[in-house]
Symmetry: C2
Subunit: 370 residues, 2 copies
């Protein structure tokens, strides 16, 4: 009844695609992978990601919100503290913007050694049309005291991280908070926010990694000192060691991804492609910056060929790119990389950091051409 | 620049919840976890799962469908072969049914040793309102030959599994296919199917594990011999070894799950609960069968107390249950189990099978009461 001897061990494939040879994954990493959701890369076909395909990162639990009891408070160093219901917010001026969002930990699974956290591959991405009211308008009405340096945004999701009991909280400077594009969003792709995306209200900070866009938002406090909470000083830092205070994680770095061509082998996701002209497509983005160039490699990044870049639909959303590849029989590792308007380009191998943040190493796609 | 010495190794917690002590996970399992999507258990609050929270299993790729070129063919041993566009199908009689769907591999990650496949925990579940036209009506119009034993359903997703190049294909007997509740579904929760859920058309077989509900359906062939394709004879079997032909996986087994109470520790998902009366809620289902009883344990299944069961909204959808727990300080492993109308009850420890199918072991939730 319990003959276990024939169960296979580790397959010998999946050797490419950026994994360290020796790495397996801990239970805790699997628990976090299943709590969160990646966008299958076929999703790159769509300029706006279908809501159910957008990446999802839930730090603690998805809170249960009784809308009759919910309100947003904006207080602290303001002349006129504000308390609003969702209906109040829905009556305010509305803006809709397409925004590409990415988790700061995207690519973490390819680092070695690897911080035990969400082991994202390349797919912690998505682009949605967010509708909401600009935060800037609320700040003007509240009257911001001259001493204000930062805004603290608090969500309703609560839990323990780093041995600290906390609500999820992040801050932004008054300058970053006052930018035109920062929204208090209540709608995603034309529908009310689904519970997992922050119902009834979330912050959307275009150009920033996803940790800034606090979900289940219920309080905004204006303060005169930098915020020292866990998610600000501990979790989202570029650090070289556990003692290194590091630099804060902020804007999304330049990145391109491709829809893997051909068809997959189920387990390894290695691709099988027929010889001939293969169309390669994908999207590229760089947070607040523009994309100037996208390049394709068929030899794991040794040589590169320029791809075509298509129209941008929003300053904060990805742009489509396309290219053709004359595929002849053999084994290849396809790569794609993008350049931004500040002259940044994606690295072929990923600089390491302690918490696995901002990993924009080029995507690698193992392909067998027959 | 690359000081790796301080990266933590495996945390020492996450010891409960059903994992085998020694197990880590292979790269291939992580790749499959990120290709698929689990329902965070907070989703058990909703009788109908928000579309973006429903579990998702994509065997190969999500195909790109040009609706202008797509059609459904029903052929083989019929008097009048049928070829229909989506518009043709939308004009047919429509039925909407709430159906709880579950992946046959749900719970696989808790087996030891473990088949290398999608390492589901407990969350490969969801309940949707599917709208479509009964397959039975089409079969009546086509005129089924007396020799027909089985129907082969073919989807547009293609790939390699078990070294076989294949479209995803499954069969059902003519008896199972002719049941009233079997739908050709084009809508999920009142909206057209999203690409990842089978746009433009999928089969929905209420009561069966998800592998029967073929997505991106484009052909139904009526045949007089049992189908011998990979997904029928290899993938979805209750086997005791690689040589054992085994029995086919078919109907969903009885299962109950709870919303984990209290708040989580981020990495281990261990729960922190305040002492006092704790309300426990969740859902229970048994495929085509009814639920007769739900029980709660606070001591890892040594003793049980009966929970309340609430109204059923559909014969094929889960039922809510609730209970209260007088929590006193200490460490607990909460369990829940359900009984069905055929007298089946969930096992406290999971009988092993080679491919990790139909694992309906009771859920275990580690809780610290303070």
């Amino acid at each position: 009844m319990n003959q276990k001897s024939e169960v296979p061990g580790a397959p010998i494939y999946a050797q490419g695609s950026g994994f360290a040879e020796e790495d397996n994954f801990y239970k805790e990493e699997l628990l976090l992978a299943w709590r969160n959701r990646a966008m299958p890369l076929e999703g790159l076909r769509y300029p706006i990601t279908p809501t159910g395909l957008h990446f999802l990162n839930v730090h603690f639990d998805i809170p249960e919100v009784d809308i009759a009891k919910w309100s947003l408070t904006l207080d602290g160093l303001v002349s006129h503290p504000i308390k609003m219901t969702l209906d109040d917010i829905l009556r305010r001026p509305a803006v809709t913007t397409a925004v590409t969002m990415e988790c700061a930990g995207n690519g973490r699974a390819f680092l070695s050694p690897r911080r035990i956290s969400v082991p994202w591959l390349n797919e912690a991405i998505g682009t949605a049309e967010w509708t909401g009211t600009p935060l800037r308008g609320l700040l003007q009405e509240a009257g911001v005291n001259d001493k204000v340096s930062d805004l603290i945004f608090t969500g309703l999701d609560q839990g323990i991280q780093g041995e600290q009991l906390q609500y999820y909280q992040r801050s932004l400077s008054i300058t970053d908070s006052s930018r035109d594009e920062v929204l208090l969003a209540y709608s995603m792709n034309g529908a009310p926010l689904q519970p997992q995306h922050g119902y009834p209200l979330r912050l959307v900070v275009p150009g920033w990694y996803g940790m800034a866009s606090v979900k289940w938002l219920n309080r905004i406090e204006l303060v005169s000192e930098p915020f020292t909470g866990y998610q600000q000083l501990q979790a989202y830092r570029y650090r070289q060691s556990g003692d290194d205070p590091g630099e804060p994680v902020s804007l999304i770095k330049v990145r391109a991804l491709m829809v893997p061509p051909g068809i997959p082998e189920l387990m390894t996701r290695t691709r099988l492609v027929k010889a001939g002209t293969v169309k390669l497509i994908g999207r590229a983005w760089a947070g607040r910056l523009g994309i100037t160039r996208v390049e394709i490699s068929q030899d794991r990044g040794s040589s590169w060929a320029e791809a075509d870049i298509h129209e941008a639909t929003s300053p904060f959303a990805w742009r489509a790119w396309s290219s053709t590849w004359e595929a002849t029989p053999g084994k290849y590792t396809l790569c794609v990389r993008a350049f931004d308007t500040a002259g940044n380009v994606q690295p072929v191998s990923q600089p390491w950091n302690y918490q696995g943040m901002g990993n924009n190493m080029v995507q690698r796609v193992d392909v067998i051409v027959e």
